[in-house]
Symmetry: C2
Subunit: 438 residues, 2 copies
């Protein structure tokens, strides 16, 4: 046997957790799912593997390099690298069966052959929602998205985060008005660094692009707009830029802010940020990024935006949409590293039944009653010393141990030990069930 | 654009459901997960991709032919084809971090490049539980498994199914005692057909194996043992077979039956069946199959058994285990085809809020209140005719529609329409929340 032995190992860049961490991960995933369902998003589960031709209809550059692509029989197939392309495929394939606006969530693994490094994964969970309209889509849905982000991160136990909102039409229109659209990519790259390098250096770098002093002044004035969301909108209007795209962007942003307010998201959780663009090709209107207030270095924890046409590579139907994605694997890694995971339950079992010097069947019977009462119950059934039994509960962080001994069976009063406090009570099974559940 | 369009399609053999069916599928998956957790099984989530060398340490024949195996960079990698091999890898890798007995569940997709045909899938969900001991494992766990099967299928809404239990030592010992071990494979293949071809044809086929009349009589007597589980055990003992393996198999089976009884599984749900073997190499003790009583043709819906050593290809630790698997993708397909899905909820949203001739913001505010009360709420926010709004609720099978009009806002009494019965009530939001939740 021995000479044939293989060393068991997992590929680098693939997250594989120990049970205690897996419980926390799953709890986060379930909370995200529940939040998405709270808003009526429908579940979707597309295959991990697709025809390469379908998956790569739009892709190019980095995506193609990173994709897991291979041949199986006659088929050129690939592992999905995001959940948006499969959604586009799905909606165009099932257009006649779906009800629009089509609100779907998908939580699943995607695959990217990136160079593995700390905090970067090749297999990663994405948790996506998108709302797809048939021909048109009200921008009320652009407001629904931040409300979902707010609800989800609150549900995950976080209190200090901010959703930054912009509308790409504003920046694009602004550049149009100044007639500097050709330089917009470079300008945005510079602007994006203002938090790190400061105002002066931004101005200096803009000068290197050979923009006039007037234009640089306009840009600086624009990106430094401060104040409440309302004040920012007012200032954007005051700037008196007569560009159609700009004006329609400002109008949309104002409307979206109004709907977010109606949805009851507290104002400290969302903020207009005119610098946000989220990539340059894909999004066409509202865009979002989300940061922990005290941990901006973690990067955006939830991003997305509005796009004009989801599936133009597959269909001539116009399918505008808006959506976001939470990269759960990366987020979990970062939170875990910073000791920031807020979810509480760290055991699957609520109680461990421990038979003490009685037939183990007595323990099994008690366990069945607890399970009928929807209590997750494990039984320690090996004949070991009490210390070993309690150690099992301790290592699995099971909050309660229920002792079943001769005396307990005679008196019908059972001993429940709280593993955290050490407190022991003796009571009827009915009372103990209430105690564990409460 | 048009000339570049790609036809959106999904690979054959890959299940991709419409939202209504996906809701049912997910509900089944969640019920299975909850049942597994009820018994304290810990979650595990191993990568979809592994080193081929690790995944194929034990495999051969069909498995190697069916596996999705490919090269990425320098790595020879494969998609997992079951959840047992990754478990073996995981336990041997993390042996020192795990608490034994290690009870884990894993629900995830596995990949098999089978020839796609009706009801056969290349990407399929398996829902596995296993209990792994360190060196030894009490057969109380062999009894825990049928209790999990019972609980799970009851939870899924089924009442008429039977878990068939055997112990491979009994048959193997029986063959040893008769000195016909060499022909056991052929004998089992013939025995297995008795339900289809009948007693006489089985006898005839056994004769073709050149077995003596005495031996054939013993075999027939053995496989035709009838009666309650207790009676079967008694008859196995009465057969007076003096073979160590046989006797230890009978003893184990008797003990396991005793523990299953203690766990409260009603006797009509489990039955000793001496013909069951579940493949010839892997299992070493207790084995299980589960059938719907009235749909035996669907095949076993949940199978598994006890094995002596989980991970001998990776470690010299002896890791005995017992486990089962539910092939959810196939099961769902078959149940759906037979119209046998018992789960009820077919909508994600509990209610659709419909603003009627009022600012949609009023609807958004009501929706937020409902969501705070843990009611899954969708809002119909486009300006459409009432008929279109109700059609949306109807198509998504949303059970309630909440109308928000001028009068409702003034009187604070809202109209709730039950979409199934057509019944309408008008009441305070508080009462309506209770109504929807109840």
């Amino acid at each position: 046997m021995e000479e044939k032995r293989v060393i068991p190992k997992t590929l680098p860049g693939f997250m594989e957790l120990l049970p205690g961490e897996q419980i926390l991960f799953n709890q986060m995933r379930e909370k995200i799912q529940k939040s998405y369902e709270r808003f009526g998003f429908l579940p979707l589960d597309t295959p991990i593997i697709e025809y390469s031709q379908v998956l790569l209809a739009k892709a190019g550059g980095e995506t193609e390099k990173q994709i897991y692509r291979f041949q199986k029989g006659d088929n050129d197939i690939s592992l999905r690298f995001d959940l948006t392309v499969p959604l586009a495929k799905y909606v165009s394939m099932n257009y006649h069966e779906l009800t629009f606006p089509f609100k779907r969530y998908q939580i699943g693994k995607v695959f990217r052959g990136e160079k593995p490094q700390k905090g970067r994964y090749r297999e990663l969970y994405q948790c996506d929602i998108d709302i797809i309209g048939d021909g048109e889509l009200s921008n009320i849905h652009d407001a629904e998205i931040p409300c979902v982000i707010y609800t989800t991160f609150k549900e995950l136990g976080f209190d200090y985060f901010t959703i930054y909102i912009n509308n790409r039409k504003i920046l694009n229109g602004f550049f149009e008005a100044l007639n500097i659209t050709k330089k917009s990519v470079e300008i945005l790259r510079i602007i994006d660094k203002i938090d790190k390098i400061g105002k002066e250096k931004v101005e200096k770098e803009l000068q290197e692009l050979e923009l006039s002093e007037n234009i640089i002044e306009s840009i600086m004035q624009f990106i430094l707009i401060q104040g409440s969301n309302e004040q920012k909108i007012a200032k954007l209007k005051e700037m008196n830029i007569q560009n159609e795209l700009y004006l329609s962007g400002v109008k949309e942003l104002e409307e979206v802010l109004g709907y977010i307010e109606a949805l009851g998201v507290p104002e400290e959780y969302y903020q207009v940020d005119l610098k946000i663009v989220r990539g340059l090709d894909y999004y066409t209107g509202t865009v979002y990024e989300t940061f922990f207030n005290d941990y901006r270095s973690l990067g955006s924890i939830c991003s997305g935006g509005r796009y004009d046409n989801l599936a133009e590579f597959y269909t001539d139907k116009k399918l505008p949409g808006v959506g976001i994605s939470i990269g759960l694997t990366r987020l979990f890694y970062k939170l875990n590293e910073q000791n920031m995971i807020q979810v509480k339950k760290s055991s699957i079992a609520d109680v461990l039944v421990v038979p003490v010097d009685v037939d183990v069947k007595e323990g099994l019977k008690i366990a069945s009653i607890l399970r009928e009462n929807k209590i997750n119950t494990d039984v320690f059934s090996s004949e070991k010393k009490m210390k070993a039994k309690l150690k099992y509960a301790d290592k699995l962080k099971i909050p309660y141990v229920l002792l079943v001994g001769e005396e307990e069976l005679n008196t019908k009063k059972f001993t429940l030990k709280n593993m955290e406090t050490g407190e022991q009570i003796k009571d009827s099974l009915e009372k103990i069930i209430q105690k564990i559940k409460g």
